[in-house]
């Protein structure tokens, strides 16, 4: 079996190679990278010299697929990767499964698992494995460890016409800490009336030694926090020991990113907010009244334990 593995950015190629190596014995890579990274786990690598836009990638990947005639195409789910491979699959008229988190073989079938319904349910699809199929795997689900194959490199030199001109790239601001690594997370939602009020959440977070995350609108609509604080199906998933959702309604797409937390606390003024269904402990209160009291209570507790320990 032969698989073509694609990633626009080489650093995300490992996930795709992970799945590819479990379903095929010949792996052909297509990517672009400029650094000293040493490609491995591939038999052959088509390497672009410079960064290409999606439109150009589509023609190149399609052409390579026509030559290589792979059984499968695998990529790692990132917005650009999915766009490029979906266009290629459109031309090849083959299906693609997005955000695959598991794949197993069941005689002549694959059983493909992916989250759906905003991440609140799992979709298990049985499909004939002799068909030409494409998979966009979720990051960190199919890690591959050092298959020591060193690929033959084929440089992609051709100039391809592109119908889309890239005018500008603006890097997004980043938080210093990765929220996925935090043990405690305080999540803020639209219950906060303005950016300045978030200081209540930050004060609470500091006392708990927690990081601050948020719902999609707080980051994507209002820009109050960087995109890497945004929790949920279209961004980060976290598994902290404690998650405190404040002024968050509990939409399925948000829950999908936090449902694996150890303990969930919800603070919301609406007793019917769905978030309470997903919480271990719930507080029905106005956050503007409740947080100052909670902060004071925590400070008291910390002070008294300090006194007790004598420092």
């Amino acid at each position: 079996m032969k698989t073509v593995v694609f990633s626009n950015e080489y650093k995300y190629m490992k996930d795709a190679i992970g799945l590819a190596s479990s379903i095929s014995n010949e792996i052909i890579g297509i990517s672009y990278f400029e650094t000293k990274e040493k490609p491995e786990g591939l038999d052959k690598l088509y390497l672009a010299e410079k960064r290409l836009n999606n439109d150009s990638w589509v023609s190149i990947v399609y052409k390579i697929c026509e030559v290589e005639k792979p059984n499968y195409i695998v990529t790692t789910y990132y917005k650009d990767n999915a766009d490029i491979i979906a266009q290629v699959c459109g031309k090849l008229q083959i299906p693609m499964f997005t955000n695959v988190i598991n794949l197993r073989e069941d005689s002549n079938k694959f059983v493909v698992t992916r989250p759906i319904l905003g991440g609140r349910a799992l979709f298990n699809i049985k499909v004939d494995k002799t068909l030409c199929l494409a998979f966009a795997v979720q990051h960190n689900r199919f890690n591959f460890e050092g298959l020591s194959k060193v690929p033959k490199i084929i440089e992609i030199k051709e100039e391809v016409e592109t119908r889309i001109q890239l005018k500008q790239r603006k890097k997004k601001p980043k938080s210093k800490i990765k929220i996925e690594d935090a043990e405690m997370v305080v999540g803020v939602g639209r219950g906060f009336k303005n950016k300045d009020d978030l200081k209540l959440a930050f004060e609470l977070a500091e006392l708990l030694n927690a990081q601050v995350g948020c719902s999609r609108p707080v980051s994507a609509d209002y820009g109050w926090l960087p995109n890497d604080a945004w929790l949920g199906v279209s961004s980060k998933s976290i598994r902290p020991k404690l998650y405190i959702a404040i002024g968050i309604s509990g939409a399925p797409q948000h829950i999908a990113g936090i449902q694996e937390s150890g303990l969930i606390v919800a603070i919301n003024k609406d007793k019917n907010a769905p978030i309470f269904k997903y919480a271990d402990y719930g507080v029905v209160a106005d956050l503007y009244q409740f947080l100052p009291v909670l902060i004071k209570e925590l400070k008291n507790m910390i002070n008294s334990s300090r006194m007790y320990r004598g420092n």
Binding site: K79, K91, T98, G119, K126, D128, L131, I164, K172
Partner: protein, 259 residues
């Protein structure tokens, strides 16, 4: 300027019907307009208001059984018309039930070609039920047009689309001649809400229903959808704010979170 907007009738995430074995019962779950498709319509309406032309809605019903879903489907199409679309073209066919964007993009591309010429095609970034993030890109291949995905801001200048793409690590500004396809994010605009009265008023606008005329490729799959359920304690603290704060701190200590 003629604009085509693609709208999916998605399973209603707040009314998912779950059978006793944790399986999702599709037949008993209602369908509604997919969340970000409202943004797609809204963007179409705004462009139409600015540049004139016709705004046409396309949709393929993909959840069945058809008789149980047709009322919701009809209501969704009326809602789009009430928001400002001029007409709706809908595929309703047994052969399209339980299909994915792989098949629906082919079926709808064929329908588009039959209905007319368009300068711009707008979809949502992803559907809220199956979120395959493919439809716009596949449609681009079938119509042989360029596509710009994840657009959070859009301008038109001299027949060109200038779009801001919202990606994981960066914002890109790209430019492309029309006709082209864009998929829009939930942040591009605030969709207007329409009243039941406005929906009824949209009754005079045409909805055209079609069967598929020629077979489209379709993969055979068996599938099941299972709820992810994690048991929670669901304790709600009651009392004065001070009492509740103390109870919460107490619980966090008991759980070993606070020391």
């Amino acid at each position: 300027m003629n604009i085509a907007v693609f709208v999916k009738a998605s399973l209603n995430l707040s009314m998912i019907y779950i059978d006793s074995d944790e399986k999702i019962n599709i037949s008993r779950t209602p369908i509604v307009i997919s969340e970000y498709d409202k943004n797609a319509i809204e963007e179409g309406v705004r462009l139409k208001e600015k540049y004139g032309g016709k705004l046409v809605v396309f949709s393929a019903l993909t959840w069945g059984p058809i008789d149980k879903k047709s009322q919701d489907f009809e209501r969704m199409l009326r809602e789009c018309l009430a928001m400002g679309a001029d007409e709706a073209h809908a595929l309703i066919d047994e052969n399209l039930i339980n299909i994915s964007s792989y098949e629906s993009s082919i079926a709808l591309a064929k329908l588009v070609n039959k209905v007319g010429n368009f300068n711009l095609f707008i979809t949502g970034e992803g559907s809220m039920d199956t979120s395959s993030y493919q439809f716009a890109s596949r449609l681009a291949s079938h119509l042989n047009l360029p596509v710009i995905t994840f657009v959070r801001h859009l301008e038109i200048e001299e027949g060109k689309i200038i779009a801001e793409r919202d990606l994981e690590d960066e914002i890109q500004v790209v430019e492309c001649n029309m006709p082209c396809i864009v998929s829009v994010t939930g942040e591009i605009n605030f969709p207007r809400t329409v009243s039941v009265k406005q929906i009824l008023q949209a009754k005079s606008k045409p909805i055209l229903r079609y069967n598929i005329e020629e077979q489209i490729p379709r993969i055979e799959v068996d599938f099941e959808i299972k709820q992810i359920s994690i048991k929670r304690k669901n304790v709600i603290f009651e009392g004065s704010i001070e009492e509740v704060a103390r109870m919460l701190v107490g619980a966090l200590i008991k759980e070993g979170i606070l020391k």
